[in-house]
């Protein structure tokens, strides 16, 4: 059913714009397909030695702001002989028209057919983009199965957090990269450049072999998976002698040496985030046991206050954004966060620039920082993430905050002028009971009561936001059983009733939640093995697209596909989701090395069940999670003791002569 991209093979440099343009008036939000953003780079096709198409497999409005893609795009395009263009998922209305008119998946910069590039790098922040990958491949005229591809097709390469277990999409991928991409894409580029210059010796197989030999590019076809009669994996082993048994993640050290994005993309269409985002550090060692991001991005590597200041200055000047986001997994933990916040607030006082810190730490320091940032403008929302409703469950997940601390913190926010705070929780956590979840209602009531008392006002609110827990690979909860959607939905109903049991308090509490069903499918995809690939394909064939969007996601479609595909293989949806795994079971991602010691993870899982906490190695001695020695990395933190100096304000029009672009 491939929308053949004959155009692609005829002339690689050819643009599909003439065929695409007449279709655009017929689709919603056509501007998302035209490109031409500030920051976009159009290069000459013929003079590029290596050509990358980078994809974020979701709609433009979500994909464009993605930091990972923006960073890699810039890093690659800075190389004189490398060309990188972007492509995003097209909505079903355009997909239909593209199929009808034979228009292939295209890039935004020069509207070139994706099938003509050397590499298609896809960034998976979440597993819910898998069906969109299949749409893009099919529209590009690239065979869905890696085994069916020839030298004429791009190497399809996955990256991003979900690539730490790419097994469910292994059949569709030529390769996957675990971890940070800055250096990885350059190394891959070198290998492709050399192979092409040598006249492509050994064809596609040789290229993939060269990539695999780096020991940090995973090429699924070089590994065989054997299964036990009961459906569990017996082993995953290389099927040739010259590839490594385990593939290692990449870690970019010294973030000051990689100050990207320098020239952020500025969208022409509306997107979810329109701001200059700067990562103030990578990695997190707080050790929340559900958090895959925290586990797989260790160790902590800070960007210095000086670099952050410089990036913000240049990023704003270049982009014209009026909002700055200081990103990381736990921004308040930066060793110089106080100085960063006050320094930036000073610098941008009296301008229209607003600063935000997506911090979730539950303590008064968080409020101090938020206050500092809102000094010169509007007050952004304040969010706390205790994640668990009861102290017991918070010990299980290692997110320690006492009830008194939580209430005191929220009340401090109210007394400092915030009228509304958001509280994030999870439902479906290991060992969770109805009682743990009902504690959320009690907490919310206490928060409102204490807040009313402290402020003497009825005009305060909180929103309780509940996300479904999904066990992720490379975390202590990778062995845990998921809870069934019915149980989750019932808990959420009980919680809602409990919140509204007191009419007066209930009125001040907003309640937002996700149903249990999508989480179950996320669970299937996150801990799936290669057999799950057939489910993804079936769902896609039955119309599955944009699974991250509730209006497009169909639970039934996934259930039906799983029921059709999995039982003949001796497993089923339950087997992947609500089943607890044992200590000795071979997990689908055991051959993919995140640096975490499996024994340490198991011990941490046992500690979770025993309700024991684990400290943060950022402040306390190393507890041997395994990452630093095995990856040859180390914690990189300040303080540097430096401060941000005031900026000399630039005034006047910036005409081309004054600021060449």
């Amino acid at each position: 059913m491939s929308a053949a991209s004959t155009a692609a093979s005829r002339s690689a440099a050819m643009t599909v714009w003439p065929q695409l343009e007449p279709l655009l008036p017929l689709v919603s939000k056509p501007i998302q397909y035209v490109g031409g953003e500030l920051g976009a780079v159009v290069k000459d096709w013929e003079s590029a030695a290596v050509r990358w198409a980078l994809m974020y497999p979701d709609a433009y409005e979500v994909g464009l702001p993605n930091q990972g893609v923006q960073i890699l795009y810039e890093v690659l395009n800075e190389q004189p002989d490398v060309l990188a263009e972007r492509t995003y998922a097209v909505w079903p209305d355009l997909e239909r028209l593209m199929r009808a008119h034979g228009v292939p998946q295209f890039t935004l910069e020069a509207h070139r057919p994706v099938g003509a590039f050397d590499l298609l790098g896809v960034s998976f922040a979440t597993e819910l983009g898998y069906t969109n990958l299949l749409t893009a491949l099919d529209l590009a005229g690239i065979p869905l199965l890696a085994a069916d591809r020839t030298e004429a097709h791009p190497v399809v390469l996955a990256g991003g957090h979900a690539a730490f277990n790419p097994e469910p999409i292994a059949d569709f991928l030529d390769a996957a990269v675990l971890g940070d991409g800055e250096e990885a894409v350059l190394e891959i580029t070198d290998i492709v450049r050399r192979w092409k210059a040598e006249g492509r010796p050994g064809g596609r197989d040789e290229l993939l072999l060269r990539l695999a030999r780096t020991e940090s590019v995973y090429v699924p076809r070089f590994y065989d998976v054997d299964y036990l009669p009961d459906g569990r994996i017996q082993r995953v082993v290389p099927n040739r002698p010259d590839v490594p048994f385990r593939v290692r993640k990449r870690t970019t050290m010294d973030l000051d040496a990689w100050p990207y994005p320098k020239k952020p993309l500025v969208p022409l269409a509306e997107t979810v985030h329109e701001r200059y985002a700067v990562e103030i550090f990578r990695g997190c060692t707080r050790g929340c046991r559900f958090c895959q991001a925290g586990m797989i991005t260790r160790p902590v590597r800070e960007r210095s206050i000086t670099t952050v200041g410089q990036m913000v200055q240049q990023g704003l000047e270049y982009s014209g954004f009026s909002e700055v986001g200081l990103l990381s997994l736990s921004s308040a933990d930066h060793s110089e966060i106080g100085d960063i916040c006050s320094g930036l607030a000073d610098r941008y006082a009296g301008t229209n620039i607003s600063l935000s810190l997506p911090s979730t730490r539950v303590d008064a320091f968080n409020i101090e920082l938020a206050q500092e940032l809102s000094r010169n403008g509007r007050r952004t929302g304040l969010t706390f993430a205790p994640e668990g409703g009861s102290e017991r469950i918070r010990r299980v997940i290692n997110k320690m905050v006492t009830e008194e601390d939580l209430i005191r913190t929220v009340v401090t926010a109210y007394t400092n002028g915030w009228r509304h705070v958001k509280l994030y929780f999870m439902c479906g956590l290991p060992t969770e009971t109805d009682e743990d979840v009902l504690q959320i209602a009690r907490l919310a009531h206490e928060v409102i009561k204490a807040g009313r008392e402290a402020t003497g006002s009825k005009d305060i609110r909180c929103t309780v936001s509940i996300g479904g827990f999904v066990p992720k690979p490379h975390t202590p909860f990778q062995w845990a059983a998921m809870e069934r959607p019915e149980v989750i939905d019932n808990r959420l109903r009980l919680l809602k009733e409990a919140i509204n049991a007191d009419r007066s308090l209930g009125r001040a509490i907003g309640f937002r939640y996700h149903d249990g069903e999508p989480s179950l499918i996320e669970g299937l995809l996150s801990r799936g093995d290669r057999r799950v690939g057939a489910v993804i394909r079936k769902v896609w064939e039955n119309g599955g697209r944009f699974d991250g969007w509730s209006e497009h996601f169909s639970f039934q479609r996934w259930v039906d596909a799983a029921a059709e595909v999995l039982p003949p293989l001796g497993v089923d949806l339950d087997w992947y989701t609500v089943r607890e795994r044992g200590e000795t079971e071979v997990l689908p991602w055991d051959h993919l090395d995140s640096g975490l010691d499996k024994d340490w993870l198991w011990q941490d899982w046992q500690n979770a069940l025993a309700e024991c906490e684990q400290d943060d190695c950022r402040w306390t001695p190393c507890y041997d999670c395994g990452v630093c020695p095995s990856m040859d990395t180390e914690i990189q933190i300040g303080p540097t003791g430096r401060k941000l100096l005031p900026l000399t304000p630039v005034r006047g029009l910036r005409t081309p002569a004054a600021s060449p672009r």
């Binding site: 056509p30 000047e317 029009l653 081309p656």
Partner: protein, 215 residues
């Protein structure tokens, strides 16, 4: 504006807005060579420098052609009509000529349009000051081989506005004209219409010297 360093004035209030207003912006999906906007400034700037700075800050294809210091009166008062060019690939010029005659002959051409409030009927005829099939001096690009009829229409600014696609709907109503592929519309000019049917550039009045009546 921020990239170009334009000292835009902001409205007062809790959520200040930059003082930028567009006069009769073109609808989505059409091209334009004549869009106008007014910017309120905090301080005086040189119009030529403003033009250069803004043009450099914008994406390729979004070009700033001219800037003048606004005289009295609002921009909206200086725009009462647009000239549009409609390219209809796959349509024979004679077929189009026939449809245009039927359109001209009609005193009223009601067409339906989807709006946010649902379907509504507008008259596509009355706002049309002139409608002509033109013979191109050169064939439009990218349609080689296929016939392509070209239409120029001058449409008066009315409420609700009559857009190029309404005129095309009108041609369908009067003569069953069904272009095989979506036509391409380009706004060529906006301004006030003279008795001869010429469109006067709204910036004309504020250009150097114009105020003292040299032109």
């Amino acid at each position: 504006m921020r990239r170009a360093g334009v000292p835009v004035a902001y409205s007062q209030g809790f959520t200040p807005h930059p003082k930028i207003s567009y006069a009769s912006a073109a609808p989505t999906g059409v091209a334009s060579e004549a869009e106008y906007l007014e910017i309120g400034l905090r301080e005086e700037v040189d119009p030529t420098e403003l033009r250069l700075a803004l043009d450099a800050a914008l994406s390729p294809g979004l070009d700033i052609l001219d800037a003048v210091v606004a005289g009295p009166g609002s921009l909206a008062d200086r725009i009462d009509a647009s000239r549009w060019r409609l390219e209809l690939p796959g349509v024979e010029p004679d077929v189009l000529r026939h449809a245009v005659s039927a359109f001209r002959a009609a005193s009223e051409v009601p067409v339906e349009r989807m709006t946010k409030q649902g379907r509504r009927v507008v008259d596509a005829r009355k706002a049309v000051l002139s409608i002509d099939v033109i013979t191109p001096t050169e064939a439009p690009s990218e349609v080689g081989g296929v016939p392509c009829a070209i239409l120029e229409v001058v449409v008066r600014q009315v409420t609700p506005s009559v857009r190029p696609d309404d005129v095309l709907s009108g041609l369908r109503v009067v003569a069953d004209l069904e272009p095989p592929v979506p036509p391409r519309a380009t706004r060529l000019a906006q301004g006030t219409v003279t008795a001869q049917g010429e469109i006067v550039d709204p910036l004309e009045a504020d250009r150097d010297g114009a105020a003292i009546g040299e032109r």
